[in-house]
Structure formats: structure tokens, C-alpha cells
């Protein structure tokens, strides 16, 4: 096994790229498949992540809809774009804007956990609304795909080594 830093960093970048690609793939079924099935006195409704947000807004819960939109759609998308930016920037050594990219990495690392909101929400709703034919909520396969996408993006961020953004800057500082 080769333990030279450059090879190690290259391997970690490859792992990060693979995990980010897998997350992007999982986000497709996560957004297309239903995440919840609601049965209210015989009226059955299946919701995807997006239609659930639209439903919240239609009921007048704009602030809650906005929170779920940010956690379930904006953050996963932002994480994938951010990871792609970091990977692209470090493909040929350390980039010029290391300071800004390091802040971007710190932001991605911080926001990642909030995407789990929809997973906790779906489980909790399915657990408490169990009144037989009167009212019933069941989780659907979309939520499993979404959880997988969230875990993969968190792992991708954890795999990326932010120190790979800096060697060139270190040389400049030394000079």
C-alpha cells in the first residue's frame, strides 16, 4: 500500500466522488417515489417530498413548508453542488481560493445533518397516526431512498479532506 500524501488525497477524493455520485443517484427515487401515504376517513393521498411541501403551503403553513423545503430539497442539492465544486477545484492540486472553499466545506459539514428532518418526520407521523380506517399514515419507499441519499452525502463530506485545499497556499505563505 502506498501512503504518500498525494496518493492518499487522491484516493480520498475518489471515495468522496463515488459517494457523492451514489447520493445523486439515490436522490432521484427519493424525489420521485412517495414518502408518505395518508388515509383520512377513506380519502387516500400519497405524497412525495415536494408534494408534501406544497400541501403544507396550501394549508397556510408557509414557514413550516419553507423549513421542510430547505432541509429536504435545498440542503441535499447544495451539498452535492458544493462537493462537486470542492472536487473540481482540487482535481489538479490545491486551488487559488482555498479560504472560500474551506468555508464552503465547513458549511457543508454543518448543514448536512438537517436533511434527516424528513426521515424523522415520516417515522414519527407513521408512529402516532394509527387510528385504523379513521386516520392512518404509512411510510413509503421514497423515504428509505432519501435516508440513503442523506447518509451518503454526510459520508462524502466526511471523506473529503479539506487540507487538500491548502498545500499551494502553504507554499505561497512560506515564500
Amino acid at each position: 500500500m502506498n501512503f504518500f500524501p498525494s496518493n492518499l488525497q487522491r484516493r480520498r477524493r475518489a471515495q468522496c466522488a463515488a459517494l457523492a455520485c451514489a447520493a445523486a443517484i439515490m436522490l432521484v427515487p427519493a424525489n420521485l417515489l412517495p414518502v408518505l401515504r395518508t388515509n383520512l376517513s377513506g380519502r387516500v393521498r400519497t405524497d412525495t417530498i415536494f408534494s408534501g411541501i406544497v400541501g403544507l403551503c396550501e394549508d397556510g403553513n408557509w414557514a413550516i413548508g419553507a423549513i421542510v423545503f430547505v432541509a429536504s430539497i435545498l440542503i441535499p442539492a447544495l451539498k452535492l453542488v458544493g462537493l462537486a465544486t470542492l472536487l473540481f477545484a482540487t482535481r489538479r492540486g490545491a486551488p487559488a481560493h482555498a479560504h472560500g472553499l474551506t468555508r464552503l466545506f465547513a458549511l457543508l459539514d454543518f448543514i448536512g445533518r438537517w436533511s434527516m428532518l424528513d426521515v424523522f418526520l415520516a417515522g414519527f407521523l407513521a408512529g402516532v397516526v394509527r387510528f385504523g380506517a379513521l386516520a392512518n399514515i404509512e411510510p413509503r419507499s421514497g423515504i428509505a431512498a432519501f435516508a440513503a441519499a442523506v447518509v451518503l452525502t454526510v459520508l462524502a463530506t466526511a471523506t473529503f479532506d479539506p487540507r487538500s485545499l491548502w498545500p499551494a497556499a502553504a507554499e505561497r505563505l512560506a515564500a
Binding site: 413550516i64 379513521l134 491548502w166
Partner: protein
């Protein structure tokens, strides 16, 4: 930037702290209460001295552990429909996912919402209690690494937000009200955040830093 007016705290040997974001090495210094030391290169927080007393992280961790029991055993919400009522606990969602054959997801939710927060509190207690109570055993860098790993996956604050969102979502379907368990769980989540934030960047024991275990 590292404040230069304060004296070095570990003068016996040249000690280096490495920034986890950019890899830049720094000499360790003593920090006054409320003072923070940032990386000279990337600006990331390297170390911070809490405004609270040095016993505060342990107090937060022990309070969190005390709150954990009611948080996990008392209902978070009560849901009622046509005279029939149900209690929703932290583990209710886990059981629902398990029942619908999403067992891996159920285990994952259990881990992030219950096991990891609880384990983080135990690890923090194990890290901080020996020196405070002069216990004969010591925990080292491996416990810090475990705490960092657990903090990555412990998400009680996300669970709290999920319950609040569920409250609004359920409002038009059923009668729903918050119960004591929710406030205990939310307080436990706050204690975890306070305990971890007040000790994550706290100055480490000199022996551990000199041994090069903590970077």
C-alpha cells in the same frame, strides 16, 4: 488569530495544535475566559475557553443524562381522533418504520435519535468526570475521537424540529398536543449541545497534547 499577549500554557516542550481544516500547525497558548483562538491561515476555530466555569461541561452532560430517562420514557405528543388517543414516544417512529419492513432505516433512526445522543453524553461524562472527582482511571484521546464521531451522528435537535413540524402537519388531521417528554427531550438536546460546545474546543490536558494524540 492566536492572541499573543497571553503566556504560553505548556512551556516545557514545543507543542503544536493542528487545524483540522487546513493542517496549519500552531503553538498552544493559555486562553482567558471567553477568549477564542482561530487558525492563523484559514480562520477556523482552534480552541476556546468557555465563559462558564470549568465544571460546566460535566454539569451539562450529567443534566443531559438525568433528562434522558424521562425523555425516552414519557410521551412527546398526545394524538386524539374521534375519542381515541395515542401517545407518541421517541421510539414510536422507530417501531413504525420497523413494522413497515424498513428495518435498516428504523435502526438508523434509533441510532441518530436515541443511541448516539445517549452514548455522547456517557462518553462526555467519562471524559470529564475522572479529573473532576479524582477518579483512579483516566480516559484519553480515543474517547475524544469517539465523542467527535458520535457528535457527527447524534441528531436530537433534528428530531426536536421534526416533532414540531409534525405538530403543524397533524394539526388539520387530528387533535395533537405536546407532552412532558417533548420538553425533557428538547432540554436533553440542549444539554448535549452545551456540553459538547463548551468542551469541544476547550484546552486539552497537557499530557495528551504533548503526546501528539490531539491534533
Amino acid at each position: 488569530m492566536l492572541p499573543s499577549q497571553t503566556p504560553l500554557s505548556f512551556p516545557a516542550a514545543p507543542v503544536r495544535l493542528t487545524c483540522r481544516l487546513c493542517g496549519c500547525g500552531h503553538d498552544t497558548i493559555a486562553l482567558a475566559r471567553g477568549e477564542r483562538a482561530s487558525c492563523a491561515r484559514c480562520g477556523a476555530l482552534l480552541a476556546a475557553r468557555s465563559r462558564f466555569d470549568t465544571d460546566a461541561p460535566l454539569a451539562f452532560a450529567l443534566t443531559g443524562l438525568l433528562l434522558a430517562y424521562p425523555a425516552f420514557t414519557l410521551p412527546l405528543v398526545k394524538v386524539a381522533k374521534f375519542g381515541s388517543a395515542r401517545d407518541g414516544l421517541v421510539l414510536t417512529g422507530v417501531a413504525a418504520l420497523w413494522r413497515h419492513d424498513m428495518r435498516l432505516l428504523a435502526v438508523w433512526v434509533l441510532f441518530c435519535g436515541a443511541l448516539a445522543p445517549l452514548a455522547l453524553l456517557v462518553v462526555l461524562g467519562g471524559l470529564l468526570a475522572p479529573s473532576r472527582f479524582a477518579l483512579p482511571w483516566r480516559t484519553g484521546a480515543s474517547w475524544w475521537r469517539a465523542a467527535r464521531a458520535l457528535d457527527h451522528w447524534a441528531m436530537p435537535e433534528v428530531q426536536v424540529l421534526a416533532v414540531l413540524v409534525a405538530l403543524f402537519k397533524l394539526g388539520r388531521l387530528v387533535n395533537v398536543s405536546l407532552q412532558t417528554g417533548f420538553w425533557c427531550y428538547a432540554a436533553m438536546a440542549a444539554m448535549i449541545l452545551l456540553a459538547w460546545r463548551t468542551c469541544e474546543f476547550a484546552p486539552r490536558p497537557a499530557a495528551d497534547v504533548r503526546a501528539g494524540k490531539l491534533t
